[in-house]
Symmetry: C3
């Protein structure tokens, strides 16, 4: 499989995963099916790919220009509507799909930034932004405190790690379809372990003598 | 009247309508006159036209480059300040102006996207985004759950319908100033009927046996 | 010192000031150190410079393209984490740093817009947007009502004043490094006096017979 095909496939899977997280949040908030489609679009398209493409200033964002990207969004809202993706263990399911999107988008964001010719630091930054942007926009527009700020969990750190690993692989010339899937899988496992074992990072201010 | 003049006129009317909705929300939230101007700008300029122009990647957004667009915004904040647009039946007045903006911007958004050469699906998507973006940004920045997610109403669906009708008319070569006003009027009527008769769309998840 | 060096220096100081305000808000909201870095980035980079650069459509925003801008953000989060910038008089400290950022960014925003060739009205508008954008994005993403809408204070008005003064100085050909610092200092003093003496602007609606 060529790298181009792989990028498209991973982008579509990541879009689907974030779109499911948006549709599930719409269920949780009691929104209707149109709200579900909109929140799925914001999470799957708007927060990640569109922000990335606007930052890269490469013309019309792919999500607007290529109708293909609407399919995973519509599919996500439909599967949630038909309860083929169940919302009865809602929090857990939402977190799982969100983690898939996070893992794929940090890799894709850095890769596309690198292809556009950005310096490595910018590639890491843009990869992480692409990964956390979808979830952040989804939560902000639904009037929730974004998941990225939940101190009971490790969310943005794996995104930065995945973006850094991707950029390093690109710099070393060893990035290919296997590396992309491998890094994404590694980041998913880290996010999963972080949730399971309740890993935490230090608070925003150092408090000697306190144990979290 | 040329199509260019009509587009400008409808854009200014739509900007004014959304700006009034922003200024009225500022009154409802107890903001000051500067906050009213800012929220009127976000609703009238930022959410609709600026997002559309950034997506189309056609240089500096019209709302920033053309000072003319500031006039309807300033006028809206002034009329609300002077109570020439009364806030005593606030919710209803806000909804009416919001509906005018919604109807005009779905037509304008699709038309401008079409002129830029986007494919039809993208034109529908961008028209709907232009229409719902102003209200969404207004509500999010004022820390309210956006109107688009209110399940007791049909809001984004008419925007999509208007964008689709505009794009179809453009594809068929029958789009002109009359068609623009006609589609906008039709969408306004649909939004009005939806509010009056409390139309609803299904919730984000299908629940057999429940009647809404 | 050349104007270019001065612009860069003032941009970095403004970025640092807004980044501190973001990190302090992260402490107040109980976020972790990664959340602090993200909120510092949004306040220091995302809201001001990135929005300005996207509006000006001049390619990849400086904050993404130039890794140098990450240093003041990281420094801000670190100083807040180590309590070298104390959070025990949190509200006051946050307001002070926010005011420094506001003062510098209205000058820088207008200057950069002017250099790009925008008309004077657009320069004022973009300067004020750059100044209030960082704080607005910081507050919206942290799920707070933005400071710009707090009626107990004068926030956006000084930003508009500073942007107008900068644009006037540029039009008159008397803008230089001294003028930049002078205008920023003047705006800071106005914002400080407004806070100290509880200046207010009229509410969004005129109510005869009421005294605020």
């Amino acid at each position: 499989m060529s790298v181009e095909t792989m990028v498209l496939a991973l982008e579509l899977v990541g879009t689907f995963a974030f779109a499911v997280s948006g549709a599930l949040l719409a269920v949780k908030k009691g929104f209707d099916i149109v709200g579900s489609l909109l929140l799925a679009s914001l999470a799957g398209l708007g927060g990640g790919g569109v922000i990335r493409d606007v930052m890269l200033a490469q013309g019309v964002p792919t999500a607007f220009g290529a109708p293909l990207y609407l399919i995973p969004v519509a599919l996500a809202a439909l599967l949630v509507f038909l309860r083929l993706i169940r919302e009865d263990r809602l929090r857990r399911t939402l977190l799982a799909f969100d983690a898939v999107g996070l893992s794929l988008f940090c890799v894709m964001g850095s890769f596309i930034a690198y292809e556009t010719g950005l310096n490595p630091v910018a590639c890491v930054l843009l990869g992480a932004t692409t990964a956390v942007g979808g979830g952040a926009l989804r939560d902000v527009v639904a009037n929730e405190v974004p998941q990225i700020f939940n101190p009971d969990g490790v969310y943005a750190a794996p995104a930065f790690l995945g973006a850094a690993a991707t950029t390093t692989a690109l710099e070393l010339g060893i990035f290919n379809a296997f590396a992309a899937v491998g890094i994404a899988a590694g980041i998913f496992v880290i996010r999963f372990l972080a949730l399971k074992f309740r890993w935490r990072v230090p608070l925003a201010v150092f408090r000697p003598g306190t144990i979290r």
